[in-house]
Protein backbone atom coordinates (compact mmCIF):
# COMPACT_ATOMS: atom_id res chain seq x y z
CA UNK A 1 0.00 0.00 0.00
CA UNK A 2 1.27 3.49 -0.82
CA UNK A 3 1.95 5.92 2.05
CA UNK A 4 -0.67 8.39 0.76
CA UNK A 5 -3.37 5.71 0.73
CA UNK A 6 -2.45 4.65 4.29
CA UNK A 7 -2.81 8.22 5.54
CA UNK A 8 -6.24 8.54 3.88
CA UNK A 9 -7.38 5.27 5.51
CA UNK A 10 -6.27 6.42 8.97
CA UNK A 11 -8.14 9.68 8.58
CA UNK A 12 -11.33 7.83 7.65
CA UNK A 13 -11.00 5.43 10.61
CA UNK A 14 -10.34 8.25 13.05
CA UNK A 15 -13.36 10.17 11.85
CA UNK A 16 -15.55 7.12 12.19
CA UNK A 17 -14.36 6.44 15.73
CA UNK A 18 -15.00 9.99 16.86
CA UNK A 19 -18.49 9.86 15.39
CA UNK A 20 -19.23 6.65 17.32
CA UNK A 21 -18.02 8.21 20.59
CA UNK A 22 -20.22 11.17 19.96
CA UNK A 23 -23.28 9.01 19.57
CA UNK A 24 -22.45 7.12 22.79
CA UNK A 25 -22.12 10.35 24.68
CA UNK A 26 -25.52 11.44 23.44
CA UNK A 27 -27.23 8.14 24.49
CA UNK A 28 -26.49 8.10 28.21
CA UNK A 29 -27.93 5.34 30.42
CA UNK A 30 -30.86 6.39 32.58
CA UNK A 31 -30.46 6.61 36.32
CA UNK A 32 -31.43 3.38 38.03
CA UNK A 33 -34.31 3.56 40.50
CA UNK A 34 -33.39 3.16 44.14
CA UNK A 35 -34.59 0.53 46.60
CA UNK A 36 -35.63 -2.05 44.04
CA UNK A 37 -36.04 -5.54 45.48
CA UNK A 38 -36.87 -8.47 43.26
CA UNK A 39 -40.05 -10.46 43.74
CA UNK A 40 -40.72 -13.98 42.53
CA UNK A 41 -43.67 -14.99 40.44
CA UNK A 42 -46.52 -16.51 42.36
CA UNK A 43 -47.17 -18.90 39.48
CA UNK A 44 -46.25 -22.54 40.09
CA UNK A 45 -42.75 -23.27 38.86
CA UNK A 46 -42.17 -26.98 38.72
CA UNK A 47 -38.54 -26.69 37.74
CA UNK A 48 -37.50 -24.82 40.83
CA UNK A 49 -35.54 -26.60 43.53
CA UNK A 50 -34.46 -25.68 47.05
CA UNK A 51 -30.83 -26.52 47.82
CA UNK A 52 -30.54 -26.77 51.59
CA UNK A 53 -27.13 -25.97 53.07
CA UNK A 54 -26.50 -27.25 56.59
CA UNK A 55 -23.33 -25.13 56.68
CA UNK A 56 -21.38 -27.90 58.37
CA UNK A 57 -18.34 -25.68 58.85
CA UNK A 58 -20.45 -22.82 60.22
CA UNK A 59 -23.46 -24.44 61.87
CA UNK A 60 -25.19 -21.23 63.01
CA UNK A 61 -25.55 -20.05 59.43
CA UNK A 62 -27.79 -22.50 57.61
CA UNK A 63 -29.13 -21.43 54.25
CA UNK A 64 -31.63 -22.49 51.64
CA UNK A 65 -31.00 -21.50 48.03
CA UNK A 66 -33.78 -21.38 45.46
CA UNK A 67 -32.65 -22.26 41.95
CA UNK A 68 -34.50 -22.20 38.65
CA UNK A 69 -33.54 -25.40 36.87
CA UNK A 70 -34.41 -24.15 33.39
CA UNK A 71 -32.20 -21.09 33.44
CA UNK A 72 -29.68 -22.20 36.03
CA UNK A 73 -30.25 -18.95 37.90
CA UNK A 74 -30.19 -18.63 41.66
CA UNK A 75 -33.45 -16.86 42.46
CA UNK A 76 -32.98 -16.13 46.15
CA UNK A 77 -32.01 -17.44 49.56
CA UNK A 78 -33.32 -17.92 53.07
CA UNK A 79 -31.16 -17.57 56.18
CA UNK A 80 -32.22 -20.47 58.38
CA UNK A 81 -30.24 -20.68 61.59
CA UNK A 82 -28.38 -23.39 63.49
CA UNK A 83 -28.11 -27.05 62.40
CA UNK A 84 -30.47 -26.48 59.52
CA UNK A 85 -32.07 -29.48 57.87
CA UNK A 86 -34.41 -28.24 55.17
CA UNK A 87 -37.41 -26.20 54.13
CA UNK A 88 -40.88 -27.63 53.69
CA UNK A 89 -42.71 -26.39 50.60
CA UNK A 90 -46.47 -26.92 50.49
CA UNK A 91 -48.11 -27.58 47.13
CA UNK A 92 -50.63 -24.91 48.01
CA UNK A 93 -47.86 -22.35 47.59
CA UNK A 94 -47.77 -18.91 49.11
CA UNK A 95 -45.66 -19.81 52.10
CA UNK A 96 -42.55 -21.79 52.95
CA UNK A 97 -42.08 -23.48 56.30
CA UNK A 98 -38.63 -23.68 57.84
CA UNK A 99 -37.97 -25.43 61.17
CA UNK A 100 -35.10 -23.47 62.69
CA UNK A 101 -32.97 -23.25 65.84
CA UNK A 102 -31.31 -20.17 67.31
CA UNK A 103 -29.16 -19.42 70.32
CA UNK A 104 -29.23 -16.04 72.02
CA UNK A 105 -25.41 -15.84 71.81
CA UNK A 106 -24.81 -17.49 68.49
CA UNK A 107 -23.59 -20.87 69.68
CA UNK A 108 -24.59 -20.54 73.33
CA UNK A 109 -27.19 -18.96 75.54
CA UNK A 110 -30.91 -19.60 75.45
CA UNK A 111 -32.05 -21.91 72.67
CA UNK A 112 -35.19 -21.06 70.74
CA UNK A 113 -36.72 -23.33 68.12
CA UNK A 114 -39.25 -21.92 65.69
CA UNK A 115 -41.01 -22.68 62.47
CA UNK A 116 -40.38 -19.60 60.41
CA UNK A 117 -42.96 -18.77 57.77
CA UNK A 118 -41.57 -17.16 54.65
CA UNK A 119 -43.60 -15.45 51.97
CA UNK A 120 -42.95 -17.51 48.83
CA UNK A 121 -42.74 -14.52 46.51
CA UNK A 122 -40.70 -12.16 48.67
CA UNK A 123 -38.65 -14.87 50.49
CA UNK A 124 -39.02 -12.77 53.64
CA UNK A 125 -40.21 -13.94 57.04
CA UNK A 126 -43.87 -13.18 57.66
CA UNK A 127 -44.25 -14.96 60.97
CA UNK A 128 -42.96 -17.65 63.26
CA UNK A 129 -44.34 -20.35 65.48
CA UNK A 130 -42.35 -21.18 68.56
CA UNK A 131 -41.93 -24.89 69.16
CA UNK A 132 -40.21 -26.89 71.93
CA UNK A 133 -36.40 -26.57 71.71
CA UNK A 134 -36.03 -30.22 70.83
CA UNK A 135 -35.70 -30.31 67.05
CA UNK A 136 -33.31 -33.12 66.13
CA UNK A 137 -29.82 -31.95 65.18
CA UNK A 138 -28.91 -34.54 62.58
CA UNK A 139 -27.58 -35.06 59.13
CA UNK A 140 -30.47 -33.63 57.14
CA UNK A 141 -33.18 -36.05 56.06
CA UNK A 142 -36.47 -35.38 54.32
CA UNK A 143 -38.22 -37.40 57.02
CA UNK A 144 -37.20 -34.96 59.74
CA UNK A 145 -39.82 -32.38 58.76
CA UNK A 146 -42.93 -33.13 56.74
CA UNK A 147 -46.48 -32.04 56.06
CA UNK A 148 -49.50 -34.28 56.37
CA UNK A 149 -51.08 -35.02 52.99
CA UNK A 150 -53.65 -32.25 53.33
CA UNK A 151 -50.88 -29.88 54.48
CA UNK A 152 -52.82 -29.06 57.63
CA UNK A 153 -50.16 -30.22 60.09
CA UNK A 154 -46.41 -29.77 60.01
CA UNK A 155 -44.57 -32.57 61.82
CA UNK A 156 -41.01 -32.21 63.10
CA UNK A 157 -38.79 -34.99 64.46
CA UNK A 158 -37.28 -34.33 67.91
CA UNK A 159 -34.27 -35.94 69.56
CA UNK A 160 -33.12 -34.81 72.98
CA UNK A 161 -32.21 -37.88 73.06
CA UNK A 162 -35.80 -38.72 73.89
CA UNK A 163 -37.67 -39.21 70.63
CA UNK A 164 -40.87 -37.36 69.85
CA UNK A 165 -42.65 -35.39 67.15
CA UNK A 166 -43.72 -31.77 67.32
CA UNK A 167 -47.10 -31.03 65.74
CA UNK A 168 -47.81 -27.59 64.29
CA UNK A 169 -51.21 -26.53 62.96
CA UNK A 170 -50.45 -24.68 59.72
CA UNK A 171 -53.97 -23.25 59.49
CA UNK A 172 -54.05 -21.77 62.98
CA UNK A 173 -50.28 -21.24 62.81
CA UNK A 174 -49.90 -22.62 66.30
CA UNK A 175 -47.94 -25.30 68.11
CA UNK A 176 -50.38 -28.08 68.87
CA UNK A 177 -48.40 -30.51 70.99
CA UNK A 178 -45.84 -33.23 71.11
CA UNK A 179 -46.22 -36.91 70.34
CA UNK A 180 -43.97 -39.46 72.01
CA UNK A 181 -42.47 -41.99 69.61
CA UNK A 182 -40.57 -44.19 72.02
CA UNK A 183 -37.73 -45.93 70.20
CA UNK A 184 -38.89 -44.76 66.76
CA UNK A 185 -37.52 -42.10 64.45
CA UNK A 186 -38.49 -39.76 61.63
CA UNK A 187 -41.83 -39.23 59.90
CA UNK A 188 -43.24 -40.71 56.69
CA UNK A 189 -46.73 -39.41 55.83
CA UNK A 190 -49.32 -41.86 54.53
CA UNK A 191 -52.46 -39.72 54.45
CA UNK A 192 -54.08 -36.50 55.65
CA UNK A 193 -53.98 -37.70 59.25
CA UNK A 194 -51.54 -40.59 59.26
CA UNK A 195 -47.84 -41.29 59.15
CA UNK A 196 -45.33 -43.86 60.32
CA UNK A 197 -41.98 -43.80 62.03
CA UNK A 198 -39.28 -46.50 61.88
CA UNK A 199 -38.38 -48.20 65.14
CA UNK A 200 -35.03 -49.55 66.19
CA UNK A 201 -36.23 -53.14 66.25
CA UNK A 202 -37.45 -52.99 62.65
CA UNK A 203 -41.11 -52.39 63.44
CA UNK A 204 -43.04 -49.33 62.28
CA UNK A 205 -44.97 -47.03 64.59
CA UNK A 206 -48.13 -46.04 62.72
CA UNK A 207 -49.78 -42.92 64.10
CA UNK A 208 -53.17 -41.47 63.26
CA UNK A 209 -54.05 -37.91 64.20
CA UNK A 210 -57.34 -36.33 65.13
CA UNK A 211 -58.48 -33.21 63.30
CA UNK A 212 -57.06 -31.29 66.24
CA UNK A 213 -53.61 -32.74 65.69
CA UNK A 214 -53.58 -34.97 68.73
CA UNK A 215 -53.05 -38.72 68.65
CA UNK A 216 -56.12 -40.72 67.70
CA UNK A 217 -54.32 -44.04 67.39
CA UNK A 218 -50.79 -45.31 67.66
CA UNK A 219 -49.86 -48.89 66.81
CA UNK A 220 -46.63 -50.78 66.24
CA UNK A 221 -46.46 -53.23 63.39
CA UNK A 222 -44.56 -56.47 63.46
CA UNK A 223 -40.85 -56.23 62.79
CA UNK A 224 -40.86 -55.54 59.05
CA UNK A 225 -37.16 -54.72 58.72
CA UNK A 226 -34.24 -56.99 59.57
CA UNK A 227 -32.16 -54.26 61.17
CA UNK A 228 -29.28 -56.54 62.02
CA UNK A 229 -28.89 -58.43 58.77
CA UNK A 230 -29.67 -55.74 56.21
CA UNK A 231 -31.16 -52.49 57.54
CA UNK A 232 -33.07 -50.11 55.34
CA UNK A 233 -31.65 -46.67 54.98
CA UNK A 234 -33.98 -44.03 56.36
CA UNK A 235 -33.90 -42.15 53.04
CA UNK A 236 -37.16 -43.41 51.57
CA UNK A 237 -39.12 -41.80 48.74
CA UNK A 238 -42.84 -41.92 48.18
CA UNK A 239 -44.95 -42.79 45.17
CA UNK A 240 -48.67 -42.66 45.91
CA UNK A 241 -49.45 -44.93 48.82
CA UNK A 242 -46.09 -46.65 48.73
CA UNK A 243 -42.82 -45.68 50.35
CA UNK A 244 -39.69 -47.08 48.74
CA UNK A 245 -36.58 -47.75 50.80
CA UNK A 246 -33.24 -49.22 49.72
CA UNK A 247 -31.40 -51.53 52.07
CA UNK A 248 -27.68 -51.35 52.69
CA UNK A 249 -27.23 -54.41 50.46
CA UNK A 250 -29.30 -53.05 47.61
CA UNK A 251 -32.76 -54.52 48.12
CA UNK A 252 -35.68 -52.23 47.33
CA UNK A 253 -38.37 -52.48 50.01
CA UNK A 254 -41.84 -51.11 49.21
CA UNK A 255 -43.88 -50.25 52.31
CA UNK A 256 -47.51 -49.85 51.31
CA UNK A 257 -49.98 -47.79 53.32
CA UNK A 258 -53.44 -49.27 53.68
CA UNK A 259 -56.52 -48.26 55.61
CA UNK A 260 -55.44 -50.69 58.30
CA UNK A 261 -51.85 -49.52 58.57
CA UNK A 262 -48.66 -50.23 56.65
CA UNK A 263 -47.65 -53.53 55.05
CA UNK A 264 -44.38 -54.67 53.54
CA UNK A 265 -44.65 -55.67 49.92
CA UNK A 266 -42.15 -58.11 48.38
CA UNK A 267 -38.70 -56.61 48.14
CA UNK A 268 -36.69 -56.81 44.94
CA UNK A 269 -33.02 -56.39 44.10
CA UNK A 270 -31.55 -53.24 42.65
CA UNK A 271 -28.45 -55.18 41.65
CA UNK A 272 -27.81 -58.49 39.92
CA UNK A 273 -25.60 -61.02 41.69
CA UNK A 274 -22.85 -60.03 39.26
CA UNK A 275 -23.25 -56.34 40.12
CA UNK A 276 -23.18 -57.14 43.83
CA UNK A 277 -20.02 -59.14 43.30
CA UNK A 278 -18.59 -56.07 41.58
CA UNK A 279 -19.43 -54.18 44.80
CA UNK A 280 -22.18 -51.97 43.34
CA UNK A 281 -24.25 -50.40 46.11
CA UNK A 282 -26.50 -47.41 46.65
CA UNK A 283 -25.02 -44.55 48.63
CA UNK A 284 -25.39 -40.93 49.58
CA UNK A 285 -27.45 -38.66 51.77
CA UNK A 286 -30.52 -38.50 49.52
CA UNK A 287 -29.81 -41.42 47.25
CA UNK A 288 -33.27 -42.11 45.88
CA UNK A 289 -35.74 -40.06 43.86
CA UNK A 290 -38.93 -41.14 42.14
CA UNK A 291 -40.88 -39.68 39.24
CA UNK A 292 -44.49 -40.47 40.04
CA UNK A 293 -46.08 -40.36 36.57
CA UNK A 294 -43.55 -42.51 34.79
CA UNK A 295 -42.84 -44.84 37.68
CA UNK A 296 -39.11 -44.34 37.26
CA UNK A 297 -36.91 -44.72 40.33
CA UNK A 298 -33.52 -42.97 40.35
CA UNK A 299 -30.76 -44.34 42.59
CA UNK A 300 -27.24 -43.05 43.18
CA UNK A 301 -24.84 -45.99 42.90
CA UNK A 302 -21.13 -46.59 43.35
CA UNK A 303 -18.72 -49.49 43.60
CA UNK A 304 -17.72 -49.88 47.23
CA UNK A 305 -19.27 -52.92 48.82
CA UNK A 306 -20.46 -53.21 52.43
CA UNK A 307 -20.28 -50.26 54.86
CA UNK A 308 -20.28 -47.70 52.03
CA UNK A 309 -23.91 -46.64 52.33
CA UNK A 310 -22.92 -42.98 52.58
CA UNK A 311 -20.37 -42.95 49.78
CA UNK A 312 -20.98 -40.64 46.86
CA UNK A 313 -21.70 -42.05 43.42
CA UNK A 314 -20.74 -41.19 39.89
CA UNK A 315 -23.69 -42.93 38.30
CA UNK A 316 -27.44 -42.75 38.68
CA UNK A 317 -29.27 -45.91 37.72
CA UNK A 318 -32.90 -45.68 36.69
CA UNK A 319 -35.40 -48.45 37.39
CA UNK A 320 -38.88 -49.11 36.08
CA UNK A 321 -41.00 -49.70 39.16
CA UNK A 322 -43.50 -51.82 37.22
CA UNK A 323 -40.99 -54.32 35.85
CA UNK A 324 -38.32 -53.90 38.57
CA UNK A 325 -35.76 -53.63 35.80
CA UNK A 326 -32.89 -51.23 35.37
CA UNK A 327 -33.69 -49.22 32.27
CA UNK A 328 -30.99 -46.55 32.17
CA UNK A 329 -27.60 -45.56 33.54
CA UNK A 330 -26.68 -41.91 33.83
CA UNK A 331 -23.01 -41.06 34.25
CA UNK A 332 -22.91 -37.97 36.43
CA UNK A 333 -20.84 -34.91 35.71
CA UNK A 334 -19.55 -34.84 39.31
CA UNK A 335 -19.75 -37.05 42.37
CA UNK A 336 -23.26 -36.97 43.76
CA UNK A 337 -24.84 -37.68 47.15
CA UNK A 338 -28.29 -36.10 46.79
CA UNK A 339 -30.79 -36.25 43.95
CA UNK A 340 -34.28 -34.93 43.35
CA UNK A 341 -36.56 -35.09 40.32
CA UNK A 342 -39.32 -32.67 39.36
CA UNK A 343 -42.77 -34.18 38.96
CA UNK A 344 -43.87 -32.68 35.63
CA UNK A 345 -44.06 -34.51 32.28
CA UNK A 346 -40.65 -33.14 31.19
CA UNK A 347 -38.82 -33.64 34.46
CA UNK A 348 -35.45 -32.32 35.49
CA UNK A 349 -33.04 -34.33 37.60
CA UNK A 350 -31.12 -32.31 40.20
CA UNK A 351 -27.89 -33.56 41.75
CA UNK A 352 -25.48 -32.22 44.37
CA UNK A 353 -23.17 -33.42 47.11
CA UNK A 354 -21.86 -32.37 50.50
CA UNK A 355 -18.36 -32.28 49.09
CA UNK A 356 -18.93 -29.52 46.58
CA UNK A 357 -21.28 -26.60 46.45
CA UNK A 358 -22.53 -27.02 42.92
CA UNK A 359 -25.88 -28.19 41.61
CA UNK A 360 -25.88 -30.23 38.41
CA UNK A 361 -29.04 -30.39 36.34
CA UNK A 362 -29.96 -33.18 33.91
CA UNK A 363 -32.86 -34.02 31.64
CA UNK A 364 -34.45 -36.72 33.81
CA UNK A 365 -35.82 -38.57 30.78
CA UNK A 366 -32.78 -38.72 28.54
CA UNK A 367 -30.19 -38.35 31.25
CA UNK A 368 -28.50 -35.59 29.27
CA UNK A 369 -26.48 -33.10 31.28
CA UNK A 370 -27.94 -29.62 30.89
CA UNK A 371 -26.23 -27.14 33.16
CA UNK A 372 -24.66 -26.48 36.56
CA UNK A 373 -25.07 -23.82 39.21
CA UNK A 374 -21.99 -23.28 41.34
CA UNK A 375 -21.21 -21.71 44.72
CA UNK A 376 -24.43 -22.65 46.50
CA UNK A 377 -23.40 -22.38 50.14
CA UNK A 378 -20.73 -24.67 51.55
CA UNK A 379 -22.25 -28.09 52.27
CA UNK A 380 -25.51 -28.60 50.38
CA UNK A 381 -27.52 -31.52 51.67
CA UNK A 382 -31.09 -32.32 50.72
CA UNK A 383 -32.89 -31.09 47.63
CA UNK A 384 -36.54 -30.10 47.98
CA UNK A 385 -38.88 -29.58 45.05
CA UNK A 386 -42.30 -27.93 45.24
Amino acid sequence: MHAANSRRLMVVLLAGTLTAFGRLAAAQLPVDPADVVEQLSAQPAVHRVWVNDMAFFAFPDGKAFLVDGDSGRMLGMLSTGYSFTGVVVPKAGGVIYSPETYFSRGTRGARTDVVTLYDATHLAPIGEIEIPPKRASIMPMLGAQVLTDDERFLLIYNYTPAQSITVVDTRARKFVGEIETAGCALIYPTGPRSFFSICGDGALLVTTLTDAGTVARSERTAELIDVLKDPLTEKGVRRGDTWLFASFEGELHPLHATAAGVEAQPNWPLFTPQELAQHWRTGGLQHLAVHGRSGRLFAIVHQGGPETHKDLGEQIWVYDLASHRKVQSIATRNKVGSIQVSQDPQPLLFACSLESNRLDIYDATSGKYLRSVDSLGSTPTILVSP
Binding site: T160, S197, P231, E307
Partner: protein, 172 residues
Protein backbone atom coordinates in the same frame (compact mmCIF):
# COMPACT_ATOMS: atom_id res chain seq x y z
CA UNK B 1 -18.80 -62.45 72.84
CA UNK B 2 -22.35 -61.23 72.83
CA UNK B 3 -22.87 -61.77 76.52
CA UNK B 4 -19.81 -59.68 77.23
CA UNK B 5 -20.99 -56.88 74.99
CA UNK B 6 -24.50 -57.16 76.36
CA UNK B 7 -23.25 -56.84 79.91
CA UNK B 8 -21.26 -53.76 79.04
CA UNK B 9 -24.06 -52.21 77.03
CA UNK B 10 -26.57 -52.92 79.75
CA UNK B 11 -24.40 -51.23 82.33
CA UNK B 12 -23.86 -48.24 80.13
CA UNK B 13 -27.55 -48.05 79.28
CA UNK B 14 -28.56 -48.12 82.91
CA UNK B 15 -26.10 -45.39 83.65
CA UNK B 16 -27.48 -43.34 80.79
CA UNK B 17 -31.07 -43.85 81.83
CA UNK B 18 -30.13 -42.62 85.29
CA UNK B 19 -28.41 -39.55 83.91
CA UNK B 20 -30.74 -38.24 81.25
CA UNK B 21 -34.09 -37.91 82.85
CA UNK B 22 -36.54 -36.23 80.51
CA UNK B 23 -40.10 -35.49 81.50
CA UNK B 24 -41.97 -38.69 80.91
CA UNK B 25 -39.66 -39.73 78.11
CA UNK B 26 -37.16 -41.88 79.92
CA UNK B 27 -38.65 -44.98 78.45
CA UNK B 28 -38.46 -43.59 74.95
CA UNK B 29 -34.75 -43.22 74.81
CA UNK B 30 -34.44 -46.64 73.31
CA UNK B 31 -31.42 -47.53 75.35
CA UNK B 32 -32.80 -50.85 76.40
CA UNK B 33 -33.69 -51.73 72.83
CA UNK B 34 -30.42 -50.93 71.21
CA UNK B 35 -27.78 -50.75 73.85
CA UNK B 36 -26.40 -47.39 74.63
CA UNK B 37 -23.12 -45.98 75.58
CA UNK B 38 -23.66 -43.59 78.41
CA UNK B 39 -20.31 -42.80 79.77
CA UNK B 40 -19.46 -40.57 82.66
CA UNK B 41 -18.33 -37.12 81.77
CA UNK B 42 -14.74 -37.22 80.79
CA UNK B 43 -12.39 -36.22 83.57
CA UNK B 44 -10.70 -32.91 83.18
CA UNK B 45 -7.22 -33.34 81.80
CA UNK B 46 -4.68 -31.85 84.18
CA UNK B 47 -2.22 -31.10 81.46
CA UNK B 48 -2.12 -31.09 77.75
CA UNK B 49 -3.03 -34.50 76.40
CA UNK B 50 -0.75 -34.54 73.44
CA UNK B 51 -2.06 -36.67 70.62
CA UNK B 52 -0.32 -40.00 70.69
CA UNK B 53 1.25 -41.46 67.63
CA UNK B 54 3.33 -44.50 67.11
CA UNK B 55 3.42 -48.24 66.78
CA UNK B 56 2.88 -49.27 70.42
CA UNK B 57 -0.23 -50.92 71.80
CA UNK B 58 -2.33 -48.03 70.46
CA UNK B 59 -0.88 -47.65 66.97
CA UNK B 60 -1.49 -44.85 64.54
CA UNK B 61 -2.06 -41.13 64.61
CA UNK B 62 -5.27 -39.85 66.25
CA UNK B 63 -5.03 -36.83 63.98
CA UNK B 64 -5.72 -38.99 60.95
CA UNK B 65 -8.94 -40.48 59.72
CA UNK B 66 -7.19 -43.85 59.32
CA UNK B 67 -6.47 -44.22 63.05
CA UNK B 68 -7.98 -47.56 64.09
CA UNK B 69 -10.37 -46.10 66.69
CA UNK B 70 -12.01 -43.96 64.03
CA UNK B 71 -13.75 -46.86 62.29
CA UNK B 72 -17.22 -45.36 62.78
CA UNK B 73 -16.54 -41.71 63.47
CA UNK B 74 -18.21 -38.80 61.72
CA UNK B 75 -16.96 -35.33 62.49
CA UNK B 76 -13.94 -33.22 63.26
CA UNK B 77 -11.20 -35.10 65.13
CA UNK B 78 -10.65 -33.59 68.58
CA UNK B 79 -6.98 -34.57 68.43
CA UNK B 80 -6.65 -31.89 65.75
CA UNK B 81 -8.57 -29.32 67.80
CA UNK B 82 -6.72 -29.10 71.10
CA UNK B 83 -8.00 -32.34 72.58
CA UNK B 84 -7.02 -35.95 72.02
CA UNK B 85 -8.60 -39.24 71.07
CA UNK B 86 -10.17 -39.37 74.54
CA UNK B 87 -10.31 -35.75 75.72
CA UNK B 88 -12.14 -32.61 74.70
CA UNK B 89 -10.44 -29.33 73.75
CA UNK B 90 -10.33 -26.60 76.41
CA UNK B 91 -13.59 -24.88 77.15
CA UNK B 92 -15.84 -27.54 75.67
CA UNK B 93 -17.99 -30.14 77.34
CA UNK B 94 -18.08 -33.85 76.52
CA UNK B 95 -21.49 -35.11 75.51
CA UNK B 96 -23.07 -37.30 78.14
CA UNK B 97 -24.41 -39.72 75.58
CA UNK B 98 -23.10 -40.89 72.26
CA UNK B 99 -22.93 -43.59 69.67
CA UNK B 100 -20.57 -46.54 69.84
CA UNK B 101 -18.56 -48.49 67.34
CA UNK B 102 -16.57 -51.67 67.52
CA UNK B 103 -13.08 -51.21 66.12
CA UNK B 104 -10.23 -53.66 65.62
CA UNK B 105 -6.87 -52.77 67.15
CA UNK B 106 -4.24 -54.17 64.81
CA UNK B 107 -1.60 -54.10 67.54
CA UNK B 108 -3.18 -56.56 69.96
CA UNK B 109 -5.81 -58.17 67.76
CA UNK B 110 -8.67 -57.20 70.07
CA UNK B 111 -11.94 -55.58 69.06
CA UNK B 112 -12.68 -52.60 71.26
CA UNK B 113 -15.93 -50.80 71.96
CA UNK B 114 -15.28 -47.17 71.14
CA UNK B 115 -17.49 -44.35 72.40
CA UNK B 116 -17.58 -41.35 70.07
CA UNK B 117 -18.39 -38.60 72.53
CA UNK B 118 -18.84 -35.23 70.90
CA UNK B 119 -17.33 -32.13 72.50
CA UNK B 120 -19.86 -29.35 72.75
CA UNK B 121 -20.43 -25.68 73.45
CA UNK B 122 -18.55 -24.01 70.61
CA UNK B 123 -18.86 -23.82 66.87
CA UNK B 124 -17.19 -26.44 64.68
CA UNK B 125 -13.47 -26.92 65.04
CA UNK B 126 -13.35 -27.35 61.30
CA UNK B 127 -10.16 -29.44 61.24
CA UNK B 128 -9.57 -33.07 60.27
CA UNK B 129 -13.06 -33.91 59.10
CA UNK B 130 -13.45 -37.68 59.03
CA UNK B 131 -16.39 -39.90 58.12
CA UNK B 132 -16.11 -43.67 58.39
CA UNK B 133 -19.14 -45.86 58.65
CA UNK B 134 -18.13 -49.32 59.79
CA UNK B 135 -21.23 -50.76 61.46
CA UNK B 136 -22.95 -47.39 61.29
CA UNK B 137 -26.72 -47.78 61.29
CA UNK B 138 -29.63 -45.51 60.29
CA UNK B 139 -31.11 -42.82 62.51
CA UNK B 140 -33.79 -45.19 63.78
CA UNK B 141 -31.02 -47.05 65.63
CA UNK B 142 -29.71 -43.96 67.44
CA UNK B 143 -26.93 -45.47 69.47
CA UNK B 144 -25.38 -47.05 66.40
CA UNK B 145 -25.80 -43.98 64.22
CA UNK B 146 -23.18 -41.35 63.59
CA UNK B 147 -25.69 -39.00 61.94
CA UNK B 148 -26.91 -37.52 65.21
CA UNK B 149 -25.36 -34.48 66.79
CA UNK B 150 -24.59 -36.07 70.13
CA UNK B 151 -24.35 -32.71 71.83
CA UNK B 152 -28.10 -33.23 72.23
CA UNK B 153 -28.63 -33.52 75.96
CA UNK B 154 -25.49 -31.63 76.90
CA UNK B 155 -25.72 -28.89 79.49
CA UNK B 156 -24.07 -26.44 77.12
CA UNK B 157 -26.51 -27.11 74.31
CA UNK B 158 -26.18 -28.60 70.86
CA UNK B 159 -23.28 -26.52 69.56
CA UNK B 160 -20.99 -29.20 68.09
CA UNK B 161 -17.20 -28.74 68.16
CA UNK B 162 -15.45 -32.09 67.53
CA UNK B 163 -15.58 -35.83 68.21
CA UNK B 164 -13.46 -38.09 70.42
CA UNK B 165 -12.94 -41.85 70.16
CA UNK B 166 -12.71 -43.21 73.67
CA UNK B 167 -12.21 -46.89 74.51
CA UNK B 168 -14.89 -48.08 76.92
CA UNK B 169 -14.26 -51.80 76.83
CA UNK B 170 -13.06 -54.84 74.97
CA UNK B 171 -15.46 -56.80 72.84
CA UNK B 172 -13.98 -60.22 73.49
Amino acid sequence: MHSSIDTLIEGLAREMARRISRRGFIGSVGAVLFGAASVPLLPVARGESAPQSGNGPDPGDPQTCEYWRHCAIDGFLCACCGGSAHSCPPGTEASAITWVGTCHNPADGHDYIVSYNDCCGKSECGRCLCNRNEDDKPLYMPFKSNDYNWCAGSKVGIAYHCSTARIVGVAK
